[in-house]
Amino acid sequence: MTLASTLPSLPGTEGPLTNAEVLRIRNDFPILGTVVNGKPLVYLDSGATSQNPSSVLEAEQEFYEQRNAAVHRGAHHLAVEATDAYEDARTAVAGFIGARAGELVWTSNATEAINLLAYSMSNASAGRGGEAARRFALAPGDRIVVTEMEHHANLIPWQELASRTGAELRFIPVGDDGALRLEEAAALLTPATRVLAFTHASNVLGTINPVHELVRLARNVGALTVLDACQSVPHLPIDVKALDVDFLAFSGHKMLGPTGIGALYGRAELLNAMPPFLTGGSMITTVSMERAEYLPSPNRFEAGTQRISQAIALGAAANYLAETGMHRIEAWEAALGERLVQGLSGIEGIRVLGPAAGTGRIGLASFDVDGVHAHDVGQFLDDRGIAVRVGHHCAQPLHRRLGLAATTRASAYLYNTTDEVDYFLEAVSGVRSFFGVR
């Protein structure tokens, strides 16, 4: 799929990234040289948004300096150049997840991708799209299943869809170990289930969910599968065909790309049968004053002038990750994640959420500091130049399940070093004494 993964096993192209390579990688990211409160920035908030390498920033600038034009219209030189660059980016990003270009719809972000799907189903439920779209239509008696660990982006669109169609929304609960209770999933996925939407990796717990097992359960009852891959596409090698999901959503800004761009992957035959969500220019074939015919996917879902520079920059980001090697990035982050979880677990008064170190989890750790609110923890760390996320991480139901209002999350990426993790751990060990808790 990627250049790096098709190379024979040369020294330095297998196993985790090395410290020397990570230091070289850091030089590609101008912002990592920032000084915060007189201290070097330690950026451990990539789970919220990642930083951009120069190649991504340059791709965006180069587009505006040399190719800026509307795509898919106009016959002039710049329009052709812009369209080529835009579609090349689609091919690159689709290839990055093992999809074909026609199966990748550009959206503003993952939230919009999931909403696009939910609203398309809503339109199908209202009779739009004709016979071909009936498999997307929901009605009272139908069921949508999500999980208790979903980000609000993969929960609220389904709540709304259920409300609009009369379908019921159920969820697979999370166990005390931070994993889904699979034994309950089988009972929840009745033949009435039409959609199973779940996250590949939890943005709070770090848990990597058993996609194959869940897809198998959904397939058994004929339900469509929707994977929130926001926390997996940036960090793990992803092949949509191997995952065998029907739909998959992810955001560009979490994978070294700019904000304002994300994508919805869908199996081609499904996308081509779905009624559009946003309508207008660039998504039609013929239009009369009464009605319109629509282009096939992906254009049918891309109404209006698109996020051209963002798509091109995201293409550059996917190429950067592919050239670095997703297997190597995954291994490096697994090591950082284990260091984070083990280190935090060893500090008095710290409760780390999610599965134990060494089990299937991505390179992040959310934790509670006994006696100190997450906001205060975040402020204390910011004073030392450390950027983390605090709050409910857009997962209020999960926090309620864990009996917490807010937690602190450190999330690593390919550019983080073991020294940074150690500096962070040392800082955390000083939090409780600063706030006079011990």
């Binding site: 409160n37 906001h375 205060d376 402020q379 004073d383 605090v390 926090h399 807010a406 600063f434 006079g436």
Partner: protein
């Protein structure tokens, strides 16, 4: 230890965050008019329910129930000490003064003569993300007074 951080989290704030004067909602004993307000900061989940009792144009009591960061909890505690016993117009004037300091991005230093322990929150104004934390209880008191008016 950094002086910036210590300016933000002054000892007086850390103490109030622990002692939490006024914490625990008081049952109304029938004297005066009760006003109540619930405030939530959706960004971090900090919340407070504040109950004010007004009698003869003055604030007879303040009590509250809340969960949140040291800044928001200390601010509610300090407010309780500062406000009880004041006339309604004095309370409103103090809320306005405090808000002005909080919104000043570090340009205004609170007058301890006027704001008492609440002057310790001056450092918060340099951290725009935390101003809402400091203001939570004050907004709740303002709304409680409005509620008691009706």
């Amino acid at each position: 230890m950094s002086s910036n951080l210590e300016q933000l989290y002054q000892q007086i704030i850390l103490d109030h965050a622990k002692e939490r004067h006024g914490a625990g909602l008081l049952e109304h004993d029938g004297e005066g008019i009760v006003g109540e307000s619930h405030q939530l900061n959706p960004v971090c989940g900090d919340e407070i329910t504040l109950r004010a009792v007004v009698k003869d144009g003055g604030l007879r009591s303040v009590s509250w129930d809340g969960a949140g960061c040291a800044i928001s909890m200390a601010s509610a505690s300090v407010l309780t000490d500062l406000m009880v016993g004041l006339r309604r117009d004095e309370v409103i004037a103090l809320v306005d003064t405090f808000r002005e300091v909080m919104r000043s991005r570090g340009k205004l230093e609170a007058d301890e003569e006027v704001l008492g322990d609440a002057a310790a929150f001056s450092g918060v104004s340099r951290y725009p993300a935390r101003v809402k934390c400091a203001m939570l209880a004050w907004v709740a008191l303002e709304e409680s007074l409005l509620a008691a008016n009706h």
